[in-house]
Structure formats: structure tokens, C-alpha cells
């Protein structure tokens, strides 16, 4: 009996509780415990992924109570994959964060690491749980940590975080309402059990209402257009390490929860053919892609540009989920993986620039290509990947999304994906032009060089990872993702 499904969140939770105790003794202990905890969690998730690929899914009954009475944790291909991605990004960003946090918010180091561990624990809990209400608990744990983390920073951060808090609470409450409808209709909270009992109830309006509430809630947490309004401000004003931690993984875990609802709880047949939920998600995704790209072009603050770019990328994932065919979903899952790496790399670059120059505006980046060569090399790789140029990873996830759109016969989606790649090229190449071809007259750049090794190394790892993921994407798709989308392969009746 393997304890892995519960060990991953427990390690992170325990380190979250040990950090305040040790950190008040000596501040550096906070970082040490955080790194060890994140590393152990990643090691466990990697082992879990390998075990699931060779032996099949692992189910863990909490407290020894068998479902549907008890809560169970499930590691199957999808959750093991997501857990590995989330813990890896968490580990890399945490290693990066040490110098950046000391530079930007030195008086808040210990609480920041405790909250970051709690955030990761909540996210991993969402991923491994197999119980609907347990998902809500972990959703709120991660959200509360995010609200508090985002508020550390300059003066405008608490206001942005408060708006995020209000909207996030609406989302959490709608989710509970949806789960309540499901519970009162089926009598169970366990995801697999509800999935068994739902087909008899597809005609019921309560189940339809439950589906709509849950999708609004998860869409809001995921920042799917038009529910994305909290995202730009929050990503702009938080400290760089915090944004680098939250931006690549938090919205993606909500997307994972959406996929879990689609695949496991409400079967695809219901959401695609009986209620037009997936079509709505696909159209909103497409709208988000265009809106995010257009708004990103208009930004002069680098972080805000990246935030709107995130809205656009989440649109891609929404489009992939909404297409609800195997290729589309593979595209969405691959994009979750790729975007986590790309966005983390981009925000690490933004943090490095801030660390060395203290500036955020793209217009001030002139000539940085010569002063910070390695950082800008990683930025170039990530930017090319975001635009979708092979062999960087972004090309392959967009390729699968394109195939999914063609498979559906929806040429508008295909056109949207192609158009948005052009738009992404506009705003990324503008930055690249400033960085490599701009003239730097300002004397503020005299002492600028690449950031110290503990910050540079993670940036390069992520940039290299983007290339590696692109080259290895066929292995990832065939070994892992095909397993995940197998339930969608049934013939459409």
C-alpha cells in the first residue's frame, strides 16, 4: 500500500507549519525548510508518476474508510502528471526566489515562504483529491494563501488582492453551491461514485444547475474570459517571486479541476452533447485568446504585458477543453505543461531585470541583450515558444489545438489560433527588439549584468526546459497524455 498520494500534500503542509517556528530562530532556516519540502514533494510526485505509468492508478483511502463513506486520494495519469508539473515549477521558482525576495521584501521573508508552502500544499491537494468537498477545502487553502501572498508588495498590491479576494470568494461559494446540488441529487461526494450515479439523472435540472455553477466557479478561478478581471492587477503589483510562483501554476490547477469535472464526474457525453457547456467554454476561450493578445500589445509595463499574455494562454487551454475531443484535450494538457515552463521563465526574467535595474517598463530595456546575455537568451527561447515557433514547446501545443479545431470542423477557432500567434509575435518581438537592438544611453545600466547564480540558474533551466519539452513532446503525448484522454475516444453516437 503506497502512501504516495497523501505524502505529497503532507510534506508541503508540514514544511508550511515548520517554517514559522524555525524562521523566528534564524531567517535563513525558512528558505532551507522550504527548499527541502519542495524537493521532497517533487521527488514524491515524480515517483508517483512513474508508478502510475507502470502499474496503473493508485487509490488511497484516508483514515482507512473506504469510499463512498470516506475521502479518497487518487493518483492517475492526469493527477500524477499535474502534480509533477506543479511541484517542479514550485521547486525551481523557490530556488530562484531567495535573492529576489531578500531584495524586494526583506522584512517579510518568513511569512512569505510559509504562505508559499501552504499555497503549494493547497494546489497539490486539489490535484490528488478524489472527493468533491475536499477539493473545495484545498481550493480555499490555496486561494487564501494567494490572497495573502499577492498583498505583500508595493502599495497597490493590497487593493488588487482585495478585488481578487472578493471574486475568488464568489467562485468558492458557487463551487460549494454546485457541489451541494450534486450531493442532494446523488447522495455522494466521491467523484467516482457521483460519476456512476449521474447518468440516470441527466434530465434533472438540479444537475444542470450544478454543472453551470461549478463551471462558473472554476472558470473564475482559471481567469477564463470574461471572468479574468482580477488577473492583470494582481500579477502586476505582487513581488516578482510571488508572481513567478502563482502565475504558471495556480490558474492551471483550476483548469485541471475543470478537466477532472469534464472527464470523470460529468461525463463528456453530458457536457458536450446534452448541455452546451463545452461549446461555451470553447467560445469564451477563443474570445480570451484574442482579447488577451490585443490588450498585451497595448501595455508598456512588462509585467502587465505578461499578465494579459497569461489571459490569452488560458484562453488556449479553455479552447482545448471546450473542443472536448482527444486532440483538443491533448493540446490543452500539453499547453498547461508548456505554459507553466514558459511563463515561469518569463516572470523569472522580469524579476531578474527588476533585481538588476529596478525598472519595469519595456522602453527601459534598451540594450539589455548585451548586458544580461544569459537571461535574455532564456527570454528569447521562452518568447519564441510563446509565439509558437518550432522546435520550442509552444509550437507543439498550438499544433494539437489546431488539429483539434480542424477535427471539429470549426475554422473560426483555427483562424483564432493562427491570428493570435501573429499578435503574440507583435508584442514579444517588440521587447526583443528593444533588448537586442535598442540603444542604451542611460548611465543606470553601467553596473548591470546577469543576476547571481541562484537566480540565473533556474531561469536557464526553465528556458532549456522549454526547448527540451518541445523536442520530447511526442514522448510526453504518447506515454502520458494519450492515457489521460482515453475516455474521450468512445465513438460519438
Amino acid at each position: 500500500m503506497s502512501h504516495l498520494p497523501v505524502l505529497i500534500p503532507i510534506t508541503l503542509l508540514l514544511s508550511a507549519f515548520l517554517i514559522p517556528l524555525a524562521g523566528y530562530v534564524k531567517r535563513d532556516f525558512a528558505f532551507a525548510i522550504a527548499s527541502v519540502g519542495a524537493f521532497l514533494a517533487f521527488a514524491f510526485s515524480l515517483r508517483g508518476l512513474l508508478m502510475v505509468l507502470s502499474q496503473g492508478e493508485i487509490r488511497y483511502h484516508l483514515g482507512g474508510w473506504a469510499p463512498p463513506i470516506g475521502i479518497e486520494y487518487v493518483l492517475d495519469a492526469l493527477s500524477a502528471f499535474m502534480a509533477a508539473v506543479v511541484t517542479l515549477i514550485g521547486l525551481v521558482v523557490l530556488i530562484y526566489s531567495r535573492r529576489s525576495v531578500l531584495h524586494e521584501v526583506p522584512q517579510r521573508v518568513v511569512p512569505l515562504y510559509a504562505l508559499a508552502m501552504l499555497l503549494l500544499a493547497g494546489l497539490v491537494g486539489i490535484i490528488v483529491t478524489g472527493d468533491l468537498f475536499n477539493l473545495f477545502v484545498f481550493l480555499e487553502i490555496s486561494s487564501l494563501s494567494a490572497y495573502a501572498l499577492m498583498a505583500i508588495g508595493d502599495d497597490r498590491a493590497p487593493v488588487a488582492s482585495f478585488r481578487y479576494l472578493i471574486l475568488g470568494s464568489i467562485a468558492g461559494s458557487f463551487y460549494v453551491l454546485g457541489v451541494g446540488f450534486l450531493y442532494f441529487s446523488t447522495g455522494s461526494l466521491n467523484m467516482a461514485d457521483v460519476a456512476q450515479r449521474l447518468p440516470a439523472l441527466y434530465q434533472s435540472r438540479a444537475v444542470a444547475a450544478a454543472a453551470i455553477f461549478i463551471f462558473i466557479a472554476l472558470g473564475l478561478k482559471m481567469a477564463l474570459f470574461p471572468l479574468h478581471l482580477w488577473l492583470p492587477d494582481v500579477y502586476t503589483y505582487a513581488p516578482s517571486a510571488v508572481t513567478a510562483l502563482i502565475a504558471p501554476i495556480m490558474t492551471k490547477v483550476s483548469a485541471y479541476a475543470l478537466i477532472r469535472m469534464l472527464l470523470t464526474v460529468f461525463q463528456p457525453h453530458y457536457l458536450r452533447d446534452m448541455l452546451p457547456v463545452t461549446s461555451v467554454i470553447a467560445w469564451l476561450g477563443a474570445a480570451g485568446i484574442l482579447y488577451g493578445s490585443i490588450m498585451a500589445i497595448a501595455q508598456s509595463d512588462f509585467r502587465r504585458m505578461l499578465a494579459y499574455s497569461s489571459v490569452s494562454q488560458i484562453g488556449y487551454i479553455g479552447l482545448g477543453i471546450g473542443l472536448a475531443n482527444p486532440l483538443g484535450l491533448i493540446g490543452a494538457l500539453l499547453h498547461i505543461l508548456n505554459h507553466a515552463f514558459m511563463k515561469a521563465c518569463l516572470f523569472l526574467v522580469a524579476g531578474s531585470i527588476r533585481f538588476r535595474t529596478g525598472r519595469w517598463e519595456v522602453s527601459s530595456f534598451a540594450g539589455l541583450g548585451r548586458k544580461m546575455p544569459w537571461t535574455m537568451a532564456a527570454f528569447t527561447v521562452a518568447a519564441l515558444s510563446m509565439v509558437g515557433i518550432p522546435p520550442a514547446a509552444g509550437f507543439f501545443s498550438k499544433w494539437y489545438l489546431l488539429l483539434g479545431g480542424i477535427d471539429r470542423g470549426n475554422w473560426f477557432f483555427v483562424a483564432t489560433i493562427l491570428l493570435s500567434s501573429l499578435l503574440a509575435a507583435v508584442y514579444f518581438f517588440r521587447v526583443l527588439e528593444q533588448v537586442y537592438a535598442g540603444r542604451s544611453e542611460e548611465s543606470a545600466f553601467k553596473n548591470v549584468s546577469d543576476p547571481p547564480a541562484s537566480m540565473l540558474f533556474p531561469t536557464i533551466i526553465l528556458g532549456a526546459g522549454v526547448l527540451v519539452l518541445g523536442l520530447l513532446n511526442s514522448i510526453i503525448v504518447s506515454r502520458i497524455l494519450e492515457l489521460v484522454v482515453a475516455p474521450l475516444n468512445e465513438p460519438r453516437g
Binding site: V6, L13, L14, L21, Y60, G63, G64
Partner: protein, 144 residues
């Protein structure tokens, strides 16, 4: 709200009521697993008793008797109790939080499950008590 209320009726009543409130809170915590109540509810009542004292007797006096650091410490102890109740069964062959495997001699697994939840409830009560008092102190505390 932080200074002592110079009113002997309020002070006297608070001092008189608080022990009863706290005993009631302990009753609520220990009876949570088969009646209304439980860790969270009892913890809130305990915290309310602390808040009553802080409001009526003044911050200075109360912080000497039960300081904010003590509140955080209590919360940490509560979490550790919960964590141990969860992790110890894993070392003895059970799953996480499986009280049937707690190594307490002389009790059958069913009885262990019955009493094991009490350990967790008291842990939760301590956590909630400590956290709410800490929140109260910080929200009303010294500016900056």
C-alpha cells in the same frame, strides 16, 4: 478599545463569567464527536472568552497574562497534535488519520477510533483558539 474600561460592573462581570465560558468551551470540544459541538466551535468560545478579557481589562494587563506569542504557540501545538494523530498511524501500518492503528494499549480498534477523534478535536480546538486570539491582537494592535 485597547485601554482598560474603567467600569467596575463590566470588569467584575467579565471576571466572573470567563471561567464558566471556558468550562463550557471545554465541554463543547469534548462532546463534539457524538453531539453538537466539536473542535472549531469550542475553540471559538475559548477565543471569545479571551477577547472578553482583553476588551474589559485592557490590553496591557491581559498581554502580560496571555501574550500574543503564547497564542501563536498554542496554535502551533494544536497543529502538531493534529499532525501526529495523522502521521503516527502511518508508522504503525495504517493509513493517514486511521485512528484504529494508534499505539494505545488496552483498547480495541473501534474504541481507538472513538477516542482518536477526540485527540484531533482537542488539537483543532487549540489551533482555532490560538489563531483567533492572534487575529484579534493583530487587527486591534499597535499601528505599524
Amino acid at each position: 478599545m485597547r485601554e482598560r474600561l474603567e467600569n467596575s460592573v463590566v470588569e467584575g462581570l467579565s471576571r466572573f463569567l470567563v471561567p464558566f465560558i471556558q468550562i463550557f468551551a471545554l465541554y463543547v470540544i469534548t462532546h463534539g464527536h457524538y453531539g453538537p459541538g466539536g473542535g472549531f466551535q469550542g475553540g471559538v468560545i475559548l477565543a471569545a472568552s479571551m477577547m472578553l478579557l482583553r476588551l474589559s481589562l485592557g490590553e496591557e494587563y491581559e498581554h502580560r497574562r496571555f501574550s500574543p506569542t503564547a497564542a501563536s504557540f498554542v496554535a502551533a501545538v494544536g497543529i502538531l497534535i493534529y499532525a501526529f494523530a495523522g502521521l503516527v498511524p502511518m508508522m504503525f501500518g495504517g493509513r493517514f488519520l486511521d485512528y484504529g492503528y494508534l499505539p494505545i494499549p488496552g483498547l480495541s480498534p473501534a474504541e481507538l477510533r472513538y477516542h482518536g477523534i477526540l485527540i484531533v478535536e482537542s488539537g483543532v480546538g487549540l489551533v482555532v483558539w490560538g489563531t483567533l486570539v492572534t487575529l484579534f491582537d493583530h487587527l486591534l494592535g499597535r499601528e505599524g
